[in-house]
């Protein structure tokens, strides 16, 4: 398995590309941007984006979808299949995406948005905007805030300490780091 992270200055968002050791079909997690830089990584490594996993449908995570679909015939997977104008295959905790050799687990983590999910693959957790290094996702109401913190505690903090976290914004981190230093997780519900 090969792993690439790509950062866009448009929305300060990250996307992640996971592919096989050699050329072949790859998974893209979030598509906040699809530009020459990302295309170069994909093509230079002989990859074909066959699957796209969306952590949530905010603009900064899906804006590159239209361009991507002009180049690759990719199956798009998201929790809320109704909100996008392109065909989307719905996923849930009980219905993980079929990404060939890559077996992702879906964790539903509502709060930042109703459709927020995280994807877990071999000790790597892709958290979208639910949890990032030293911070948590923005929420508009106290209810959403409580829902987000509850989601993080139940679904994410229950995972193993050495899980590596790759968020939608900001640098990577690890679960042990967030448990110990993330000041926002100390908030009482």
């Amino acid at each position: 398995m090969r792993f690439f992270s790509y950062f866009s200055v448009h929305h300060f968002s990250n996307c992640y590309l996971i592919g096989p050791e050699g050329p072949g079909d790859a998974v893209l997690i979030d598509a906040g941007v699809f530009d020459e830089g990302l295309l170069k990584i994909i093509e230079d490594n002989g990859l074909y984006v066959r699957w796209v996993l969306i952590t949530h449908l905010h603009h900064g995570h899906i804006q590159g979808l239209q361009t991507l679909q002009k180049i690759y015939e990719a199956g798009i997977h998201a929790l809320d299949a109704e909100q996008l104008e392109v065909p989307v295959q719905p996923i849930s905790e009980g219905k993980p995406p079929d990404c060939g050799p890559f077996s992702f687990r879906v964790l539903e983590t509502p709060g930042h948005s109703n459709d927020s999910v995280c994807f877990l693959l071999d000790g790597m957790l892709f958290t979208g905007d639910s949890l990032s290094a030293g911070s948590v996702g923005r929420t508009a109401t106290g209810y959403q805030r409580a829902l987000l913190l509850s989601s993080i505690r139940k679904k994410i903090l229950s995972l193993k300490e050495d899980v590596l976290i790759f968020p939608g914004h900001g640098p990577p981190t690890r679960l042990a780091i967030e448990r110990r230093f993330n000041p926002y997780l100390e908030e009482k519900l």
Binding site: M1, L164, P172, I177
Partner: protein, 199 residues
């Protein structure tokens, strides 16, 4: 890829080390392993996809090397020279770094969270999108560096130089900052308030 395999010792949940079936705790001779590893690292221009967690390295010159997708968590690094190196997507969390030089290095997506960093020199470096959350930095220089989008949330910074740095999107919320030098840096583009600057 992060080459993570579990330690083969019974009921051990640690990751096995590079070229070993066991973690550092279960090595027969950890010091011999450190010496062997130092020779391997010194002899390679590029180091990638290795798990070197908990190793102890000292008096080692890794200047100009490319280090990618490695796990160096809980390592003990003393007088290691990373000057002009390129370090990308490397986890060095909860490590100890003393008298290490990163002068002119290019770091991106490097995790130094929870690390104890003392008497280190990051001057004139690109430190992009790096995670220093919860780290303890003492007597350390970042002068003349580009720290774009790096995070020092809940860190403890004492006598640290951030002179003439690019601090755009750099986050210092909940950090304890004592005797730090921010002269000529764009502090207005960084976040210092404890109030959340969330996504």
């Amino acid at each position: 890829m992060f080459s993570l395999r579990l330690c083969s010792a019974k009921k051990c949940n640690n990751w096995a080390l590079y070229q070993r079936e066991v973690c550092r705790k279960h090595l027969e001779d950890p010091q011999a392993y450190d010496r062997e590893l130092a020779a391997v690292l010194s002899g390679s221009a590029t180091v990638s996809d290795l798990n070197l967690s908990s190793v102890a390295l000292k008096d080692l010159d890794l200047s100009g090397k490319s280090i990618e997708r490695c796990i160096l968590s809980q390592t003990d690094l003393r007088r290691v020279n990373f000057a002009d190196s390129r370090i990308r997507l490397v986890f060095m969390d909860f490590s100890v770094l003393e008298n290490c030089s990163f002068r002119g290095a290019k770091l991106s997506n490097v995790v130094l969270a929870g690390a104890r960093i003392e008497d280190c020199d990051f001057s004139g470096s690109d430190i992009l999108h790096c995670n220093f959350c919860g780290s303890q930095c003492r007597e350390t220089l970042f002068d003349g560096s580009d720290l774009y989008a790096s995070r020092f949330i809940a860190s403890d910074l004492e006598r640290v130089g951030f002179k003439d740095c690019n601090l755009k999107q750099v986050r210092f919320e909940h950090a304890r900052i004592a005797e730090a030098d921010f002269r000529y840096s764009n502090t207005e583009d960084a976040f210092f308030e404890k109030k959340a600057q969330q996504l």
